[in-house]
């Protein structure tokens, strides 16, 4: 036995030597986001870069499926099992701030001035609660009309001239729809997927274009269920029930249908660029959302990063450092290239003014609105169900919309109670 003792001692010493510095100084933080392939891949690369520049910090990325993401976070943070830095949809901010899941960012690093200078005004407004800033994004997103150029040509339409108004959109959609001998829709002229981007298109674009105001200024009163709002809603559901140019869940969902080239047009976000570019033989174009009676509108939103409450000391320092890095100009540009979302810093967009795809989404920022959600998933479900009520149960659009507005009002009232 004695013979082995020196060797063992040497081994232990070696182990201790190699492990000790790391053990003593390394700070590890976790970053959570929902699972979206291009974002996860890019974040892995960013973490690698960051760790190389900061050898004393260890970042672990944890991802969850989109559908359960908010719930997982909500359950984990109060239990102290949560992340240090967390990615969230801006629409969840009020709830998260109110529930105390996230902490205000340190004034020294993220002052009001910092936001004023570096970010779009709607971003600065959305992350500010009671004078404190709670979150900082890398990128923002808007909606646009995406369309299949090959299907345009097949229908005798010019792929260089996408529809500019809602009237044109409806006319194009009818021309682009195909039916089999039995009258079944086999190619949708316009994909109608309320649980995709459809509900925000109705909420922030169609309502406004028809002259309704979706919410009161403070976001606490639902005001879309007036005559004008009902008109907008009916315009949408008529496309499904009367014109039959598309229906919810046609070919699984809008993205699948567009990728399968059985859907000619869709209202979708800039984050889809990478997904669509990856599809072989898909020739797609992008145009600004059609206007109506000269009114343009769009829906701007963003995913943003916050620091969970309870993070302090060295972890807080590391988290701030990481936050600074993933919202830096360098990363914002990488994000645009790899994910397709627009830089959150306006000045960075200047050089993309000529890009045929990105410029369209950038132009959308002008007339854009951002909904002040209290419960994004709940509010989404209400409009999705409303469309189903009309489409599947033959409900009267105006009555259905009224009921939906009442439901949403109750949700908002319960939140602020």
């Amino acid at each position: 036995m004695n013979r082995f003792r020196p060797i063992a001692a040497a081994l232990i010493a070696l182990l201790a030597l190699s492990a000790f510095p790391a053990f003593a100084e390394k700070v590890s933080i976790t970053y959570w986001q929902y699972f979206y392939q291009s974002k996860v891949d890019l974040m892995n690369q960013l973490i690698e870069n960051f760790e190389k520049a900061n050898p004393d910090i260890d970042v672990e990325q944890v991802t969850f499926p989109y559908e359960s993401y908010q719930q997982k976070v909500a359950a984990a943070i109060p239990a102290g099992e949560g992340p240090d830095v967390v990615n969230l949809f801006y629409g969840w901010l009020p709830l998260w701030v109110k529930s105390g899941y996230i902490q205000a960012l340190p004034q020294s690093d993220f002052s009001a001035d910092y936001f004023k200078k570096g970010f779009y005004p709607f971003v600065a407004e959305s992350v500010n609660f009671g004078g404190k800033n709670y979150s900082v994004p890398t990128a923002v997103r808007t909606l646009a009309l995406i369309y299949n150029k090959r299907l345009f040509r097949e229908a005798g339409l010019d792929p260089a001239k996408p529809p500019k108004t809602l009237e044109e959109l409806a006319a194009y959609a009818k021309k682009l729809s195909k039916y089999d001998a039995k009258g079944n829709l086999v190619q949708a002229g316009l994909l109608m997927q309320p649980n995709g981007q459809g509900h925000v298109w109705i909420r922030e674009v169609l309502f406004r274009q028809f002259g309704a105001t979706p919410y009161s200024a403070d976001g606490r009163k639902v005001t879309y269920a007036d005559a004008k709002g009902a008109q907008a809603f009916k315009w949408y559901t008529d496309l499904v029930t009367k014109d039959k140019v598309g229906y919810p869940n046609f070919s699984t969902d809008d993205v699948t249908a567009f990728k399968a080239q059985v859907g000619a047009m869709n209202v979708d976000g800039s984050f889809r660029i990478a997904t669509l570019n990856a599809v072989k033989d898909l020739e797609w174009g992008v145009a600004e959302l059609p206007s109506y009676k000269g009114v343009k509108s769009n829906f701007a939103s963003f995913w943003t990063h916050s620091i969970a409450s309870g993070v302090e000391g060295k972890k807080l320092e590391a988290s701030v450092k990481f936050l600074k890095y993933i919202t830096s100009a360098e990363v914002q540009e990488l994000w645009l290239q790899k994910v397709g979302e627009l830089p959150a810093t306006p000045s960075l967009s200047a050089k993309y003014k000529a890009d045929p795809v990105i410029s369209v989404f950038l132009n959308g920022l002008g007339p854009a609105h951002a909904t002040s959600y209290v419960d994004e998933a709940g509010q989404r479900a209400i409009l999705v169900d409303a469309v189903d009520e009309v489409n599947l149960k033959g409900g009267d659009p105006a009555a259905v919309l009224k009921a939906a507005a009442a439901k949403e009002q109750k949700l908002i009232d319960d939140f602020w109670k």
Partner: protein
């Protein structure tokens, strides 16, 4: 006699028709898994250009988590099955071959847990796993299934068929009790153990509700949970979903073909259910 022959022919016809209904979904799944992202949307019974690209993607692509899920499922199904085999046969043996106060009560106690469906228990299990920090760990997913009341019932029945003399003879030899169980008893009940093992493996491989709750991080997913999360915000990749479905049932089909006799006997005997 003629009528009888016609009857048999009709029976064959109906049974074959039914077989087609039973098998067609599997056929369609397999064919869909051999189509690429474009062909999947063409309505053809057989792929025009069959490809194994989906399988390559699922197993070899860097961004695919399928191999991890496969591994998770395999590890957990094997571990739970081993635990069930050991404990269930031990309890079955004890309840069958020992005499002690409270025997009947203990048996009833164990059997009565069969009345509580999993759906009732996942809520307290989750609370338990959270407070003990078991969420997102193999143990957290496996713990509710480490011993099965059904297996206890089954093994006790089987142990009853072993003459007491065997046990007594071994005791006279002066062997230790655990040794008797492992060396003398277990070899005698191998057919029952095989049935229990197969069913437990299948049950665990297919389990969905509890793994769905206990694993929230994708790297801890089992195959069914991973499969259920395949379709996401970026649309449904049906060619990959069908490939995943095919792969997830492959081990079971192999087990099934290898042990069909035991499986059919097992079902017929008791209607074993997860």
């Amino acid at each position: 006699m003629k009528v009888r022959k016609a009857g048999v022919a009709a029976a064959y016809a109906i049974l074959t028709l039914f077989s087609v209904t039973m098998l067609f979904p599997f056929f369609w799944m397999l064919m869909s898994s051999l189509k690429d992202a474009t062909q999947i949307f063409q309505m053809r019974l057989l792929p025009a250009k069959p490809t194994l690209g989906n399988y390559a993607y699922i197993f070899l692509s860097r961004s695919s988590r399928f191999p991890q899920w496969f591994l998770n499922s395999a590890i957990m199904a094997v571990c739970t099955t081993l635990s069930v085999l050991f404990f269930d046969s031990l309890v079955g043996y004890t309840l069958s071959k020992f005499r002690f106060p409270g025997k009947k009560l203990i048996f009833l106690l164990i059997i009565s847990t069969l009345m509580i469906p999993t759906e009732m228990l996942v809520i307290p299990w989750y609370a338990m796993a959270r407070s003990l920090k078991w969420v997102n760990s193999y143990w957290g997913i496996m713990f509710p299934g480490m011993i099965s009341a059904f297996g206890v019932f089954l093994m006790r029945q089987f142990m009853g068929t072993i003459p007491d003399d065997f046990v007594d003879a071994a005791r006279v030899d002066g062997q230790g009790e655990l040794r008797i169980f492992l060396r003398v008893i277990l070899p005698l009940v191998t057919p029952a153990l095989a049935t229990l093992a197969i069913f437990n493996f299948i049950g665990n491989w297919n389990a969905f509700l509890w793994p769905l709750i206990a694993a929230s991080k994708p790297r801890m997913f089992t195959l069914p949970v991973g499969l259920a999360n395949f379709s996401g915000e970026a649309g449904s990749d049906w060619h990959l979903i069908m490939t995943g479905a095919t792969v997830s049932m492959l081990p079971l089909v192999l087990v099934f073909l290898a042990f069909q006799k035991q499986i059919v006997r097992g079902i017929a005997m008791t209607g074993l259910k997860g």
